[in-house]
């Protein structure tokens, strides 16, 4: 089976000399959801920013068979939808409907088609009622849903979600996970939230110092890297 994403020996260094990615190899296949674990600063977000050309390092990155390079960027960005951690950064248009239609209009679609795509995407995430609202009137969970609608309106084959459950309350997290579970696209889930990964992902990779140092099932990765609050021990001095 042809992978949707294929990354070979990806390396990237920031201007200040920090080596963020140090030979990353990765594949994503149709229908998969892969959880990306790792400590803060381990290179997870830097990695996903390479997948649609927001950062360009050394190595080979291919999305749906296309090399991620300048001449292919428009098509690559249609294929791979990136949902950022901070929804406020993603919702920059004055109203919800205009924000969701932003991507389709950039794809060159006419106003009518862009609008109908935006409405369909808002219905898909259960936010059609908010189409005329300003983004700052929405709750954190609603903003996240609208941000996802903005990506879905571009009809991508792959969704990349950076910490999707951060800053959501438990009902908001559950509603979001139910939504993500319903979406048919292949997904990359960058997260510290192991419960979300357990529910959504069928595979996991673990980042350490810019490299993928572990790959396997979600439970294997959690056990191998002790990546679960259940493995924490209460400090002896914490009782007052």
């Amino acid at each position: 089976m042809q992978p949707l994403i294929e990354v070979r020996d990806l390396q990237f260094q920031y201007d200040d000399g920090t080596v963020a990615l140090d030979g990353v190899n990765f594949q994503l296949f149709p229908g998969e959801t892969v959880a990306v674990f790792g400590a803060n600063g381990s290179g997870k977000t830097t990695f996903v920013l390479h997948l649609n050309g927001l950062l360009a390092g050394d190595g080979d990155v291919r999305v749906c068979g296309m090399a991620v390079e300048r001449k292919n960027l428009a098509r690559v960005r249609q294929k791979i939808g990136l949902v950022f951690q901070d929804s406020d950064n993603q919702l920059f248009m004055p109203t919800v409907i205009e924000d969701v239609a932003f991507g389709p209009l950039n794809l060159g679609l006419g106003r009518d088609e862009a609008q109908s795509r935006a409405i369909a995407a808002l219905e898909e995430v259960g936010m059609a009622h908010a189409s005329g609202k300003a983004p700052y009137h929405l709750s954190a969970g609603e903003k996240k849903r609208v941000a996802i609608a903005g990506i879905l309106a571009m009809r991508p084959e792959i969704l990349v979600l950076d910490e999707p459950t951060t800053s959501l309350d438990p009902p908001g997290q559950i509603a979001l996970l139910e939504l993500l579970e319903r979406l048919p696209q292949a997904k990359i889930l960058v997260t510290h939230d192991v419960e979300s990964a357990r529910i959504l992902a069928n595979r996991a990779v673990f980042f350490e110092k810019g490299r993928i140092t572990g790959e396997g099932s979600v439970e294997e990765m959690i056990a191998r890297f002790s990546w679960d609050r259940a493995t924490l021990k209460r400090p002896a001095t914490s009782r007052f």
């Binding site: 920013l49 649609n52 927001l54 428009a74 960005r77 249609q78 939808g81 990136l82 950022f84 901070d86 406020d88 950064n89 993603q90 920059f92 248009m93 004055p94 109203t95 409907i97 205009e98 239609a101 932003f102 991507g103 209009l105 950039n106 794809l107 106003r111 862009a114 609008q115 935006a118 005329g132 300003a134 983004p135 700052y136 903005g150 990506i151 571009m154």
Partner: protein
Amino acid sequence: MHHVVLDRWSRGASAIHRRDARAKTIALLEFLIALATVHRSFLAVGLCYFTILVAVMIAARLPLLAALTRAAVVLPFTLVFAVISLAAGEPLAAMTLVGKSYLSALAVLVLLSTTPLPELLHGLEHLGVPRYLLMVVQFLYRYLFVISEEAQHMRAAAQAKSGSVGRVLFDQSKFGAAAGALGVLFARSYAHAEGIHQAMLARGFQDHFRTLSRHAFRGADAIFLMAAVVLLAGARVAIEAWI
């Protein structure tokens, strides 16, 4: 916040709200020019223009008292110059200055309260205002709320650590803390800007904002504009001829 209230008002459905932003902007420009160039008959013309603005606000179903109060936000700035004029023995000049400033602010407020910002910006783009300048205004409007919220969080954090943040200007240590907070706010704004730019690129942005709005300039807009031009110019000419 002011812009949240204006945003709510601007989403009304009156006949004034439905007029094209270009027609309202040109009418506003004419109002401002006519007002700024009035000299000897300012009292009568100003009163007449104030009545016209009140009539427009009633037609637009704006909360009259709240709108009139909000327009007074410019007064502290002009009062300084008015006091200087008074001290120089020119009470008429002082009154004219205050009156013109207030009426100008009220007219701008009426435009902002009857035109959603995206429509206004599209209208300005059609009138030839540089696109990048309008993009800056749009982002400023959108993220003012986010930045203001962050500033409030930082203020709360400062209060929690020091007990009070009042009288910053008279306390050197607090002034230093406020300056530091301003620096952090700037750094955060910069980080937001980078994040927003990445999010825009990720959704295929190249160099031009495409929008859903169509902006048809209809017959009713032309009639509105002509009526505004005739009323504003006619009222001034008639008053000046009469006085």
